[in-house]
């Protein structure tokens, strides 16, 4: 199959995007893909990512994020401990160490910082509503940024229905 962009080289990179049930395909050769910035994203294996982000840099770098002696009042964990074990001590750590964790989470999950999947049944309906509103708002912002005004209008109507 030929590359859609240069029409001369063999297409070895096949991009398929699924968004809201619609599927679009693109077939590119390695060079054109790189030129478009696709396939140039290298997903670092997760464990390496963690150790790179935590091990790199002297203590002073962490200091930029605040008190390095900061410890979680619930489990006693410090950032040093996290760096050593690569796992957290308790759910509250996500709040306590948010400043350091947020960029890490962002990098590990391709820029995402908010959950948009399954919600436990026990979560009060109020919170569920809030989460749905936040999710729709994010989708609306994305749609506007991508100039998909038809989608944006639909989302805006949905949001009005919630409020």
């Amino acid at each position: 199959m030929q590359c859609e962009v240069c029409q001369s080289r063999e297409a070895t990179i096949h991009l398929t995007e699924i968004a809201d049930g619609a599927r679009t395909e693109m077939h590119l050769c390695e060079q054109c893909a790189q030129g478009q910035g696709i396939g140039a994203k290298s997903y670092i294996p997760i464990n390496e990512l963690l150790s790179n982000l935590l091990a790199v840099g002297p203590k002073e770098e962490l200091a930029g994020f605040g008190d390095t002696a900061l410890a979680c009042p619930h489990c006693g964990y410090t950032l040093e401990k996290f760096r050593e074990k690569a796992v957290l001590g308790c759910p509250y750590d996500y709040e306590v160490f948010e400043k350091v964790l947020l960029p890490l989470v962002k990098k590990a999950h391709d820029g995402a910082t908010a959950h948009c999947g399954k919600i436990p049944a026990r979560i009060p309906n109020d919170s569920k509503r809030q989460m749905e509103i936040a999710r729709l708002q994010r989708q609306l912002d994305d749609a506007v940024r991508n100039e998909d005004y038809e989608l944006a209008a639909k989302l805006r109507d949905k949001l009005t229905g919630y409020k």
Partner: protein, 374 residues
């Protein structure tokens, strides 16, 4: 229930059946969950871990899944037994050789396992034969809901399900398929596939997960991102884009072998037949690769109607001696059964005691010879 009741058989998800079974061996969905009101495991004392273990064991053993459930105290099991469980994909290596009070609850038909106190308090797993991710996720969600009626999960409206490692945050889901890609390997295209998979943000691992090599031409492909996408979208992407693409590549490579490199194909299959029928010592690694070529030949006949001298010869081999309803023809189920039963821990577990490597290699060769010369 004793482990010996399942140790002689191939598990349901390794039967060789299911959609796209000639390339997609099995599908798996795993969910990571932690209990609210408890620390994550790394900060727990032994007593706290025992507490969590007891709580979750009771809940899981009480689940009504239409199958017998049994509990394995992994921390108390002999090493051979733990290795056996890892080989069957019932627990991870990490769980087998971890520290502290921990266990696993397994459904007899092995379609569902729960690891308690692995990296998170709870790791649920559903496995099915062939390409069946939608069915896997539907089932695991139901089980997850049943459990959640009795316990409260650690969950944040912003970050989703809270996990010990931020890399599992959000959905806590790991979706994966086990692929058999012998033709891509034989036509020297496997590196391209691996690079393409990685560029798509997928993790590629060997037969037994993280850090293992691709024994027997098996590759596990799974998602890495768990936050900012819904479980449905992750599965959908696999179902609609990733799996069809890979199956097409492998099929194309198989066709290429048939049309342009039939000699190479026949050579691999013939050597596999000859060695497996005659060797007196065979290592696990070698057996896995030879069985991989056998499986390739059988699948090419079954799914592509392929016919070459070696494939014809392969299909006339009797291999079902001792199995109920034997048709006298070698089947994928038999090949998979040989695959599983000749893995090191299975071999020793069924034999009844530990063996040194030469004895294992001899026993393995004997089992395979019997099955193929039947």
């Amino acid at each position: 229930m004793k482990l010996t009741e399942i140790s002689g058989n191939v598990n349901e998800w390794f039967s060789g059946d299911g959609p796209l079974a000639d390339v997609v061996i099995s599908s798996r969905v795993r969910l990571a969950r932690n209990l609210a009101g408890h620390k994550f495991l790394a900060a727990c004392s032994v007593a706290e871990k025992s507490d969590i273990l007891k709580k979750l064991k009771d809940v899981l053993m009480g689940l009504q899944l239409g199958d017998d459930m049994f509990y394995i105290g992994v921390d108390k099991s002999p090493v051979l037994e733990r290795r056996f469980l890892v080989e069957r994909h019932l627990i991870s290596q990490n769980h087998a050789f971890g520290k502290g009070p921990r266990g696993a609850v397994v459904a007899r038909r092995e379609f569902f396992t729960a690891m308690i106190n692995e990296e998170d308090h709870l790791r649920l797993q559903v496995l099915k034969a062939g390409s069946q991710l939608p069915a896997c996720i539907e089932q695991i969600n139901r089980i997850d809901d049943m459990i959640e009626q009795q316990v409260e999960y650690a969950f944040s409206p912003t970050y989703g399900y809270l996990t010990a490692c931020p890399t599992n945050l959000g959905t806590g889901i790991r979706v994966s398929v086990m692929l058999h890609l012998p033709a891509l390997k034989m036509t020297a295209q496997i590196e391209k596939f691996l690079n393409a998979a990685r560029a798509l943000g997928l993790a590629v691992r060997g037969l037994f997960g993280e850090g293992t090599e691709a024994a027997g031409d098996f590759y596990q492909l799974s998602n890495q991102i768990t936050l900012g996408v819904s479980e449905k979208d992750i599965v959908s992407r696999f179902e609609k884009a990733i799996i069809p693409e890979i199956v097409e590549y492998e099929h194309a490579a198989r066709s290429q072998l048939l049309s342009q490199q039939a000699n190479l194909l026949d050579d691999k299959i013939s050597r596999a037949i000859a060695l497996l029928k005659n060797a007196h010592l065979i290592s696990s690694q070698e057996a896995l690769f030879l069985l991989s070529h056998i499986r390739l030949g059988l699948n090419m006949r079954k799914h592509q109607g392929a016919s070459t001298p070696a494939i014809d010869r392969l299909c006339s081999l009797g291999g079902n001696r001792g199995e109920a309803g034997a048709t006298g023809q070698l089947s994928i189920a038999t090949v998979n059964r040989l695959f599983l039963l000749t893995l090191p821990a299975h071999l020793q577990f069924n034999y009844g005691k530990e063996l040194d490597s030469t004895h294992r290699d001899a026993l393995r060769a004997q089992i395979i010879r019997s099955a193929l010369n039947g």
